[in-house]
């Protein structure tokens, strides 16, 4: 049959998208092949109400015929782009469909309803949205400050930790220049740094790969920070994303530790008793001033075997065996205390009250502290 004489009905019948013609009461007058395939492949009995193909569900208030009529009159209604009807498909499942409606000028009027299965589109959209939610939750709970900056170095995103770290009210940093978060004296250099990074081929610079940076808190104080940055090319140009870690606590801990260590080493060095710190391999790590006086001048004890130091008495063999045993047992974790004889550089003998105390860390002996006190001077 030539195209001109093909009836409208036949054309519609072979139209690839599901299409129905309904009367003004919602009775189906005609369904094309694709429509029957979607709803009822055995064929739809003329006059069946379209409501028969709506799933029995929680949307009991929906009056589909009213909406179809309304959409026929206003094909640009915004909800047409966003709402889905659900139909009980032949497959037994419920399928979301996008709907288009046209009015056929008959008396009484009829409506042509086009259906488009959007289940795949909807599933994809759900997946994307779930992934987005997960990602944004991760950003929200991150202890690190995470922010994005555009090519003009304007902040386009900042997570909650960024606002807390820099002391700004939640959400207020978006749209602000990155310079706000930097001390004045670093701003120019930082701009150069970012532009250099934009030009280079590496996609990211990670914490540890670059020196510490300094940020500026809203109250004007400076913040020591560790930073990773990455660049992402988007349709709207380059985006830089930075992860910033607050180093204040680590710095304070380091300073405390340094203070504690320097007090301890002063106490050690200037103690009146002779003291030595012995490594697990039996060599001397350190000796204090009082202990060094027992050695010939110029003798450097560090790294020497403790039991072979020159001051042990002349009946050396016995003393050494005894000392070796004592050191071994202290290395096993048992403190030792005994009297030991030594010979001073100028040849006098002394007897010392001598102790070995194991130093434990996480249950293991990491060093032994030797201490000696003069008992009496032998002449």
């Amino acid at each position: 049959m030539p195209f001109e004489t093909q009836s409208a009905r036949d054309l519609l019948r072979s139209f690839p998208e599901p299409a129905l013609v309904i009367d003004h009461q919602g009775g189906i007058l005609f369904a094309n092949v694709a429509g029957e395939r979607l709803l009822q492949p055995q064929g739809i009995e003329p006059g069946t109400s379209i409501t028969a193909f709506l799933p029995e569900d929680e949307r009991s208030r929906l009056r589909p015929l009213d909406w179809l009529k309304r959409w026929a009159e206003s094909p640009d209604a915004p909800e047409l782009r966003h709402v889905h009807l659900y139909c009980a498909a032949a497959s037994g499942s419920t399928i979301p469909v996008r709907v288009r409606v046209g009015r056929l000028n008959l008396d009484p009027p009829c409506y042509m309803v086009m259906l488009q299965d959007v289940s795949e589109e909807q599933a994809r959209q759900h997946e994307t949205r779930q992934a987005q939610r997960l990602a944004s939750r991760q950003l929200a709970i991150s202890a690190d400050a995470i922010l994005n900056v555009d090519e003009r170095l304007k902040i386009t995103y900042a997570n909650a930790a960024t606002h807390t770290l820099f002391g700004y009210p939640a959400g207020s940093l978006v749209g602000k220049p990155l310079a706000l978060l930097l001390p004045e004296r670093f701003r120019a250099d930082h701009d150069k740094y970012v532009h250099a990074f934009a030009a280079e081929t590496s996609p990211a610079r990670l914490m540890g790969e670059r020196a510490e940076i300094t940020g500026r808190h809203a109250d004007g104080t400076e913040l020591p920070l560790e930073a990773s940055i990455a660049k992402i090319t988007t349709d709207r140009g380059q985006v830089f994303t930075a992860h910033l870690r607050d180093l204040r606590e680590r710095k304070a801990q380091e300073a405390n530790l340094r203070r504690a260590l320097s007090s301890l080493s002063t106490i050690f060095e200037h103690a009146l008793q002779a003291m030595a710190l012995i490594n697990p391999d039996g060599t001397v790590e350190q000796m204090n001033a009082a202990a060094r006086q027992l050695l010939p001048s110029g003798f450097n004890p560090q790294g020497q075997a403790f039991v072979a130091l020159p001051f042990w008495s002349d009946d050396a063999q016995a003393t050494r065996t005894n000392l070796t045993e004592a050191l071994d047992s202290s290395m096993q974790g048992t403190p030792v205390r005994q009297a030991v004889g030594i010979t001073m550089p100028e040849g006098t003998h002394r007897t010392l009250d001598f102790s070995l105390t194991p130093v434990l860390a996480d249950g293991a002996v990491v060093a032994v502290v030797a201490e000696a006190r003069d008992l009496l001077e032998d002449v």
Binding site: E58, A77, P78, E79, H82
Partner: protein
């Protein structure tokens, strides 16, 4: 800024500070609260930002207009306390109030 507590259908609560003037759908989407979709971006044209308002919050807002009532037809599990959250504008009086979310938006 008022804090609104969004309660998921399973009872999980999300406290969010919402700028006065912002609608409750926008704030939920910005904070990635599961349970509110907001497909139309707040045009009152999708019905996927459906919530239930407890009495104390309902007393603070105007009754739904005709457009919103119409779009509520497309929401699931609708009852007398149902509203579309994109039509509810936050203000300071709402501080600490709870909004309940339905089991599904699709």
């Amino acid at each position: 800024m008022p804090t609104i507590i969004y309660v998921e259908h399973n009872g999980t609560e999300h406290a969010v500070s919402v700028a006065p003037g912002q609608n409750l759908m926008q704030a939920a989407v910005e904070h990635a609260i599961p349970g509110i979709e907001g497909d139309c971006g707040g045009l009152c044209a999708c019905g996927t930002c459906h919530v239930y308002l407890p009495d104390d919050l309902a007393a603070l807002v105007d009754a739904p207009d005709e457009l919103e009532q119409g779009m509520l037809e497309f929401a699931f599990d609708v009852n007398d306390t149902s509203r579309l959250s994109c039509q509810l504008i936050a203000d300071d009086a709402m501080d600490g109030k709870r909004v309940l979310m339905p089991k599904r938006q699709y």
